[in-house]
């Protein structure tokens, strides 16, 4: 964690697309009259989605006005939650888990890959394709180490497979989310160690 500030370069203005306005109305309608401010997080999230993955200052004001909130209240929310990006991100935004299980399983190696292929943490690569950030646990420890790229998890990475994913993304090729080794989901890495027989479980099993 570090101090989070609004980006020095901000767009002139921000407005939801007509489609998003409709969607926002639906979100606001979920809350009782007078409590519309409760819709702040989904609206900011949608604004971030619409605005290439980061939340500009005019969007914070726009959402605050939409919800009849003080600007400062919306800014509090936007700066509190680290999933709101206050500065531009790359087209493929890599969130790299550096928490203990991933770190033990080689997250440092993945960071090196990021530095080499993307650049310093928190900056957008020259071609605008990538940016990366170390984040806290993303909850896929069983497949450590892992990264999240935009909405997808890429798991069981090592330097080589991670480089391959990044290169494929840069080349515009399709990539397969999930474990990048032969493993299926979070099953044991060397194949099943139990439940190896299909059909009925053995009867009379003790402990």
């Amino acid at each position: 964690m570090s101090v989070r500030r609004l980006d020095p370069n901000q767009p002139e203005s921000f407005a939801f697309t007509a489609e998003n306005v409709e969607w926002a109305k639906g979100q606001i309608a979920k809350y009782p009259e007078g409590k519309q401010a409760s819709a702040i997080i989904p609206l900011l999230w949608r604004a971030q989605d619409q605005h290439d993955g980061w939340l500009p200052e005019p969007a914070i004001r726009y959402v605050a006005e939409m919800l009849d909130m003080e600007y400062i209240r919306a800014l509090e929310v936007a700066t509190f939650y680290t999933m709101f990006n206050l500065s531009p991100v790359g087209e493929h935004y890599v969130q790299l888990c550096g928490t203990t299980p991933c770190w033990l399983r080689g997250a440092d190696e993945l960071k090196e890959v990021c530095r080499k292929h993307i650049g310093p943490e928190g900056t957008v690569s020259a071609d605008g394709k990538f940016s990366w950030l170390e984040v806290e646990c993303l909850g896929a420890c069983v497949n450590a180490p892992m990264v999240q790229i935009n909405a997808d998890f890429f798991e069981d990475l090592d330097a080589a497979s991670f480089e391959r994913v990044l290169n494929d993304l840069r080349a515009g090729k399709d990539v397969k989310p999930g474990p990048q080794n032969e493993r299926h989901a979070s099953e044991p890495a060397g194949g099943l160690t139990s439940l190896t027989t299909a059909g009925q479980p053995e009867t009379g099993g003790g402990n």
């Binding site: 400062i72 509090e76 700066t79």
Partner: protein, 681 residues
């Protein structure tokens, strides 16, 4: 009513009271940073930890409701250790600024660290540093000192009603700021400095000027508006260094407006410190004897009808009493204390005071504001209305200027016609148990003011606002002197002229002599060729026009009486002496009376106060509101169609002291610039 035991003492507290309140009830002192009686509970500083039997961990007493049968310990080793732990964490990032910090000497953190601080730190990493935040000309920030108690945020939301402070970021990186660092816009903004338990928010105009322990504290009364907030004037030598609020539940609780607080630099500039006489068109410094002789020469054998006197907005009751007696003895019927021309009659106080009282606002369930914007005319009263509104179940209606009052209201119309046609709000008033009608000077200082007052009073009566135990008819004044002046009868006598008449008379030559007692808010160009005596404190409009200037004492420089809009008699006390040759105002008038051969029959403060009590017995009862006996019956008249306007055009510039203040000028300029930007958008 839970009963509990605190340190072996059994106490019974109100339902819903917190453990902290119960501990205080039992006489135990609980340290705290975030907790404040008048704000919502945050429970984030953890300093108020106490031990509760059967609870596995220490309990934050501010956020824990007192329960029946609880056994609380506040002085055990565990409590001490827990608080020391909290303090150690708070001090991790707190800089060792005390020697250069303006909060030094009155800092909660400093005080409490004497009891719970440890002598060294186990923290070897770098301390956090936080960028300063701009909050306008009044509040200076040193944000590295902030301990995240959030009192300022809660104040701006809950008391000031302008939620513009917030906490951005999180955890250690949390920072208090306004949106994109705009200046605070509330009229009560500087109260956040009083609330700040550390030196993160301090008074910008007071920065590095004095230490609290070298100041002489004088408890006094504010005169910037008609609320009469209780203040403490801190002075060093002959200088007022700052003004702070004083607790007064009946009036200002513990808040004061920014104007009340920061007007002090106006007390040092533009002061009249010696008498002046105009000779050959130019003012020259003179002695008191010369000044009095010039007045006496002018008044010699003058017909009383050609003499007039006007009392200004800051005049104390003593000086008005002397003014009235002096000019009555000269046979002048032309005297007035309503320089804005408000159509209020003397006598029958019920017709011109704030009968419900300020604390009574909390009992009201419907309020109709007529021709007033209390936010700028009396911010303290507006804060009370907001407090009542936040408690729920209050309906507010507004006739007059449409402004942001910080609470929701029904807008009923712009002018007096709406008094006759309230629409749905008529039922609100009728069904309310304790309705209030507040009539501002914007509704009274106009041609049809008397008719508006009559219409408002008859509305109050018909809505049941005036009954045995509840008087909901209120006049909100803007001038500190006004109620006192009306109580003393400073209104035109038989055949006399009011302010408008005096100006008219002066410009067409019927009036030759005008005495202005601190009256600066009249149109000086209409005084024609009259001989003008200006008695006051500042070189403002009146002094520029004057033929003789008599330097008086400002409100911090005299022992004097003011009556606030409620009719509460309050005593101001002298904090410093008037500058140079200036004297207390009633003594000037007493001396002048001797020169004129009409010596006034009182020689000391006790004497003039006894004379005031003869005029109005309630002058003997300080700090209480003497209820009005009965309401006047006023005759209705024709109502104009013109919309009401608030008499306060610029909150920061309402009187000579404020106009002389550089801080107030900066505030006014900032506000004007913000308004221009808003208009441009």
């Amino acid at each position: 009513m839970p009963k509990l035991t605190v340190d072996g003492i059994e106490v019974e507290v109100e339902n819903g009271a917190t453990l902290l309140q119960a501990c205080e009830e039992a006489g135990a002192e609980i340290p705290r940073f975030c907790y404040h009686e008048r704000l919502s509970i945050a429970g984030n500083c953890r300093m108020c930890l106490v031990e509760v039997e059967k609870s596995p961990k220490p309990v934050a007493s501010c956020a824990m409701p007192a329960g029946d049968g609880m056994v609380v310990h506040t002085k055990t080793e565990q409590v001490k250790r827990a608080r020391e732990g909290v303090m150690e964490f708070l001090l991790i990032n707190h800089p060792l600024d005390c020697p250069i910090c303006d909060q030094g000497g009155e800092c909660d953190l400093q005080d409490q660290s004497m009891a719970y601080g440890v002598d060294g730190s186990r923290f070897h990493e770098n301390k956090r540093a936080v960028e300063e935040k701009y909050m306008g000309p009044l509040v200076k920030t040193v944000m590295t000192r902030c301990i995240h108690c959030t009192r300022c945020i809660r104040f701006s939301q809950e008391v000031a009603g302008v939620p513009e402070l917030g906490a951005i970021g999180r955890g250690e990186d949390m920072e208090i700021t306004t949106y994109l660092e705009h200046a605070l816009t509330s009229e009560l903004s500087a109260n956040v400095v009083d609330l700040c338990p550390v030196g993160a928010l301090t008074f910008r105009p007071f920065a590095y000027t004095a230490r609290p322990w070298e100041l002489k504290k004088t408890e006094s009364i504010d005169v910037m508006d008609a609320v009469g907030s209780s203040i403490r004037v801190d002075a060093r030598g002959s200088e007022v260094m700052r003004i702070l609020p004083r607790l007064n539940e009946e009036v200002n609780e513990e808040w004061i407006s920014d104007k009340t607080r920061f007007v002090w630099d106006g007390l040092k500039t533009q002061r009249l410190d010696t008498p002046y006489i105009r000779e050959n068109g130019r003012l020259r410094a003179a002695t008191w004897d010369e000044a009095f002789a010039a007045i006496a020469a002018r008044l010699k054998d003058m017909d009383g009808k050609r003499i007039a006197a006007i009392a200004g907005d800051l005049a104390c009751a003593e000086s008005m009493k002397a003014l009235k007696d002096l000019y009555a003895s000269l046979g002048s019927p032309n005297i007035d204390c309503r320089q804005d021309g408000a159509k209020l009659a003397a006598g029958n106080r019920g017709g011109y005071i704030f009968n419900s009282t300020i604390a009574g606002i909390e009992d009201a369930d419907a309020i109709l504001l007529v021709g007033t914007n209390p936010r700028i005319e009396a911010p303290i009263i507006n804060a009370r209305i907001l407090k009542r509104a936040r408690a729920g179940g209050l309906r507010v209606g507004v006739i007059g200027p449409r402004a942001d009052l910080t609470y929701d209201y029904d807008y009923l119309g712009a002018g007096p016609q709406s008094l006759k046609d309230l629409g749905a709000f008529a039922d609100v008033l009728k069904n309310a148990e304790r309705p209030m009608i507040v009539v501002g000077q914007g509704a009274l200082a106009r041609g049809d003011g008397a008719a508006v007052l009559a219409a408002a009073l008859s509305l109050a009566k018909s809505a049941g606002a005036v009954s045995g135990d509840w008087n909901g008819f209120n006049v909100l004044h803007t001038a500190a002197s006004r109620v006192g002046g009306l109580d003393l009868g400073l209104v035109p006598g038989e055949g006399g002229h009011d302010v408008a008449g005096i100006l008219e008379g002066a410009s067409n030559g019927e009036i030759d002599f005008v005495h202005l007692l601190g009256a600066d808010e009249i149109d000086m160009s209409r005084l024609g060729s009259a001989f003008v005596v200006y008695q006051g404190t500042h070189g403002d409009a009146g002094a520029h026009r004057a033929d003789v200037i008599l330097p008086g004492a400002a409100y911090t420089e005299k022992n004097a009486t003011w009556i606030n809009t409620e009719g509460r008699v309050q005593l101001g006390r002298r904090a410093v002496f008037p500058p140079g040759q200036a004297r207390e105002d009633w003594t000037i008038l007493r001396a002048l009376s001797g020169v004129l051969g009409k010596t006034l029959p009182y020689n000391d403060l006790a004497g003039i106060r006894a004379a005031m009590e003869e005029d109005a017995p309630h002058f003997a009862m300080t700090d209480v509101v003497a209820p009005a006996d009965e309401m006047p019956s006023l005759s209705e008249g024709n109502l104009d169609a013109a919309p009401f306007e608030s008499p306060v055009k610029d909150f920061y510039m309402t009187n000579p002291v404020a106009r002389a203040s550089a801080v107030m000028a900066e505030c006014a300029a900032g506000r004007a610039a913000a308004a221009r930007i808003q208009a441009a958008e």
